[in-house]
């Protein structure tokens, strides 16, 4: 095992390299570009044996991955923002066809106004597409989650595509020390991809037929059941990863940080969690009973784990780096639903849209407001 200071984008590229995909089809978009750049370097230096396809759009990138995956290849792609929006219709086909493509999403705001900086609007808008969604907070977690994502997605009971979401710039362009696992360790953790069905001219079959009203819904139920099952498989894969590589991110679904005796907890996803951990440590030194619940897996949504982690809290401050315009933050909606029968109060704060910094002060403001209030809060923190 080597320890190196690397950019998180490079960590994703190394993660992809270690998983030995057969085909990578990718189209560049800020802030994802460093991922395909690094992969292209690996391929042209002969360090990575894979077919790298330069396509003309993100719609084609995912379509190419889908076709290759259907032919039995392990595939990977990466995108962000408008690119993910352009892939939107293909997302549903990939999951419906049960092709376990893995994709890195360098989270970025959506136009208009045009903005290349970080928030979670892009992947949150793809929430219902049938993809597993992981949100990571560090280069190490990005690398490790790549390996786990392939293993979860390709599990024969799951067979669903997975997104590894990392905050654009705030994480993609940040250099951090990370441990790089040995190839042979990854090889024994992640066996070669075994497709359930393969497109083969010698043994023809049909993928993607019409599903009439008498069968379409049955296939959606199958997808939903696979998603529910993924809740268990993700935990198992994280356990197995911990045994082999000695690293864990909560239980793979959520990470409860100093919540056991806490009154107030922040709920967030992605890099905000790293900042929040510092804030929690600082406030605890002053005797405040605060904690953090990091949601690592947003789809499938870990309802039971969150309920278990939050039921004894007085209140929760949900920090949403997204907004479902006309309603509220997407994470807040979920938390509110989980807590419907509990005394725990959930407050909603919209933060950090379009790359606005979420500083320790932003987080402290949310915690203070939630601590002092007796009524539910719904606010945008504009600082």
């Amino acid at each position: 095992m080597i320890k190196k200071v690397i950019e998180a984008s490079e960590a994703v590229a190394i993660g992809a390299k270690l998983c030995k995909p057969d085909v990578i089809a990718v189209y560049p978009i800020t802030p994802q570009t460093h991922i395909p750049e690094k992969i292209a370097n690996f391929v042209y230096d002969g360090k990575m044996d894979c077919e790298l396809v330069d396509v003309e759009s993100e719609h084609s990138a995912l379509s190419a991955c889908q076709g290759a995956q259907a032919a039995g290849a392990r595939t990977f792609t990466a995108t962000a923002s408008q690119g993910l929006a352009l892939m939107h219709e293909v997302l549903f086909a990939t999951s419906g066809l049960r092709l376990p493509v893995v994709m890195a999403v360098a989270n970025r705001a959506l136009s208009a106004p045009i903005n290349i900086w970080n928030d979670h609007q892009d992947s949150i808008s793809a929430r219902d597409s049938g993809w597993i969604q992981f949100y990571v907070e560090s280069a190490q977690e990005a690398l490790d989650t790549m390996i786990m994502a392939f293993k979860v997605a390709e599990n024969k009971d799951i067979m669903l595509p997975a997104m590894v979401c990392l905050d654009g710039f705030t994480l993609t362009h940040v250099y951090e020390p990370a441990q790089i696992p040995e190839q042979k360790e990854v090889d024994s953790f992640l066996p070669p991809y075994k497709p359930l069905f393969t497109l083969d001219p010698k043994k023809p079959l049909t993928m993607g037929p019409i599903g009439y009203p008498n069968s379409y819904m049955d296939f959606k139920l199958q997808q939903q059941q696979a998603m529910q099952k993924a809740l268990t498989v993700i935990k198992q894969v994280q356990q197995e990863f911990l045994k082999r590589f000695k690293r864990t991110y909560g239980n793979g679904l959520i990470e409860a940080y100093k919540t056991k005796d806490a009154d107030i907890a922040v709920v967030a996803m992605g890099t905000i969690c790293s900042t929040t951990k510092d804030v929690v440590d600082e406030l605890r030194k002053k005797g405040r009973k605060v904690g953090l619940i990091k949601i690592k897996t947003f789809r499938p949504f870990p309802e039971a784990d969150i309920l278990d982690a939050t039921k004894n809290l007085k209140a929760i401050a949900v920090l949403d780096r997204n907004i479902s315009l006309g309603q509220e933050g997407a994470v807040y909606s979920e938390i509110k639903a989980v807590l419907k029968d509990c005394k725990t109060r959930a407050d909603s704060y919209i933060v950090g849209l379009g790359g606005r910094d979420v500083t320790p002060n932003t987080i402290k403001t949310a915690i203070d407001k939630t601590s002092k209030s007796k009524n539910p809060i719904k606010e945008w923190l504009m600082q």
Binding site: L99, F197, L205, T206, M207, G208, I210, G211, S215, F219
Partner: protein, 96 residues
């Protein structure tokens, strides 16, 4: 044929169909509201309708070479009638 009478897909993961021939079983002619009728006396046997038919539902008769519609699969789109250079295909309302 209403959707209720459609054959159910096999429940393999991802709706994969492992046996060939499902499109033969699925008689899409039931979707039709207008049916093309060929006046075979006027037909000049050019095969343009055969070329344009998106569902391969037109065959050229082996004996006299005129166009014959396969009503099991013709969805009644009317492209054949539109393309026919001598206008010998008429679209007629389907009535029960």
């Amino acid at each position: 044929m209403s959707p209720k009478k459609q054959e159910k897909l096999p429940m393999d993961i991802g709706a994969v169909i492992k046996e060939p021939g499902s499109s033969i079983k699925n008689k899409t002619g039931s979707w039709r509201s207008l049916r093309p009728e060929v006046n075979r006396d006027q037909c000049i046997k050019c095969g343009i309708c055969w070329q344009f038919c998106p569902d391969m539902s037109i065959k050229m008769d082996k004996k006299d070479g005129t166009a014959v519609i396969d009503y099991d699969y013709c969805k009644g789109c009317g492209i054949c009638a539109m393309q026919c250079p001598v206008k010998c295909i008429k679209m007629v309302k389907e009535e029960k």
